[in-house]
């Protein structure tokens, strides 16, 4: 793992050689500027989409399969929550305030920003080697043995090794790749498949999903998968060391320079 050592060595060297407060720029950051900026824009968009998505769901917390569905048809499932409209019988004696106006506006705006940010990230990763270096697992790691070892150490909540501050472990790589190349594309696709104008131009996008209500149900399920990822992601950051991981994603350096002077 020569990569990690070379990344860590320049830090003390820079402190020794420079008396000025100019930060050392020769040490490669843990996360590149593109990764850091796109990460936090995506974080903001994700929260906006999550909150507004929940807000839109409560106006009709019933899910169907196929093309159509309404309160006169049998649902696939209904969430046991109150609704923001009178139409749905929820068993609760009250109706929540309707917030769909701004929720829909913000949902689609955040979706646009997230998609454009995601495109920037994916295009840049092809040029910077981020995909090959940081995300694709080593061939040697693609064995049941490596998987079981990493999973076992995660289940023990073992403290992350020093080198993991500089490189993603196998499980991280697999889950980040799944989010970037499976869940995000799926949630965008199922979202677009609900748009009556979009599917007028691209009807196959909704037909292959089994219908507009199927697209809505799948959109909800994929969103739950993304929410689960977010929760595990945050828990793992806390376990690995909240301060250093946050610092790495904000400044690029897992450790502060000042501590070394």
């Amino acid at each position: 793992m020569a990569r990690m050592e070379s990344a860590r060595v320049p830090l003390p060297a820079c402190v020794a050689s420079s008396a000025s407060s100019v930060p050392d720029t020769t040490a490669p950051p843990r996360h590149s500027a593109v990764v850091r900026v796109t990460h936090w824009i995506t974080t903001l968009c994700f929260f906006a989409l999550l909150v507004t998505g929940a807000e839109i769901v409560i106006s009709h917390p019933r899910f169907y399969w196929g093309e159509t569905g309404n309160v006169l048809t049998k649902p696939l499932f209904q969430l046991p929550i109150p609704a923001s409209r009178h139409l749905v019988q929820t068993g609760y004696g009250y109706v929540l305030p309707d917030q769909n106006g701004w929720s829909r506006y913000l949902h689609f705006q955040a979706a646009w920003i997230a998609v454009l940010t995601g495109l920037l990230y994916v295009i840049s990763m092809l040029f910077t080697g981020h995909l090959r270096r940081d995300l694709l697992p080593d061939k040697s790691d693609l064995s049941w043995r490596s998987f079981s070892t990493t999973i076992a150490s995660h289940l023990r909540f073992a403290k992350a090794s020093e080198e993991e501050a500089w490189s993603y472990n196998l499980l991280q790589r697999v889950s980040y790749l799944s989010v970037i190349f499976v869940l995000f594309p799926l949630v965008i696709w199922t979202g677009l498949a609900m748009s009556p104008a979009f599917v007028s131009a691209f009807p196959a996008t909704v037909n292959v999903l089994g219908g507009q209500q199927s697209a809505r149900t799948l959109h909800f399920i994929v969103s739950l998968a993304l929410l689960l990822f977010l929760l595990v992601h945050v828990v793992m950051i806390c376990v690995a060391g909240f301060k250093s991981r946050m610092r790495a994603m904000i400044t690029g350096q897992p450790t502060a320079h000042k501590e070394r002077t």
Binding site: G69, N70, L87
Partner: protein
């Protein structure tokens, strides 16, 4: 020396960046003007959600201007189409309903060569169009029905829309219920002044005697009880000037999503 050269470099950088920024701003300005010219800017392009709305509307106008909403087979028609709850009808509506809507009129004015008023029988005498399409509510529910009516484009032909027209206002007989669509949607072949549903008269619960069906947009743009159209080149003067009672209530003007 090295200090000087680095300062020179930074000055050069500054100039280059300044020029790039100016070019960027100018480029945006040109893009905005082109977008305006080709009708790619929605009325609610201002404000904090203007970016998302403009991107959605512009990209859909570029991609979907002539595309047709999906049509379904007879077997896919919903057995129990849900009629959303409606406000209790006004006295005026009740009077017209008692007369079986014989006195219902659709008046058309604004930027037209021949302002006119049509009875339902007149509307039914024009070539009718039938489509099996989905009605989608922004809440999330939906149904499929067969809709029968006269294409709005035909009525616009009859009254002679002037070339500077940009929007069509459509008003319900019920107070504070009106929307607008752009000419791309107004002239779209599936935009129907609907008087029939599933082989019958359009029920009052579904907007009878006359509802504007625009299957590429959500339910709230499909206004019930239409009795007045105004063709215009701007949205000022009605409500908050956003071109839609829904937009006045905080919803997006364009509901193609």
């Amino acid at each position: 020396m090295s200090d000087l050269s680095s300062r020179k470099l930074s000055r050069r950088k500054l100039i280059v960046r300044g020029l790039a920024a100016t070019a960027g701003v100018a480029g945006l300005g040109v893009a905005a003007r082109i977008a305006q010219k080709y009708g790619l800017v929605p009325p609610d392009h201002g404000g904090i959600y203007g970016l998302g709305e403009t991107l959605t509307y512009a990209s859909q106008r570029l991609l979907t201007r002539h595309s047709l909403a999906r049509e379904f087979s007879k077997s896919q028609i919903s057995k129990r189409p849900l009629a959303n709850e409606i406000e209790p009808p006004s006295d005026e509506f009740k009077r017209l309903q008692a007369g079986r809507f014989a006195d219902w009129r659709l008046s058309v004015d604004g930027m037209v060569a021949r302002p006119a008023s049509f009875s339902l029988d007149q509307l039914k005498s024009y070539p009718s169009h039938s489509q099996i399409t989905m009605l989608q509510c922004e809440e999330g529910w939906s149904y499929i029905a067969e809709w029968n009516g006269v294409p709005l484009s035909h009525i616009l032909d009859v009254v002679g829309v002037l070339s500077q027209a940009r929007y069509v206002f459509y008003f319900s007989i019920e107070p504070d219920t009106w929307e607008t669509i752009d000419m791309a949607d107004a002239l779209h072949p599936q935009t129907l002044l609907t008087y029939g549903m599933n082989g019958d008269e359009l029920p009052v619960g579904h907007g009878g005697p006359l509802r504007l069906r625009i299957p590429r947009q959500l339910g709230y743009k499909n206004v019930k009880f239409i009795n007045h159209l105004t063709i215009t080149d701007n949205l000022k003067g009605v409500g908050k000037g956003l071109g839609s009672a829904s937009a006045d209530a905080g919803y997006a003007w364009y509901a193609g999503i």
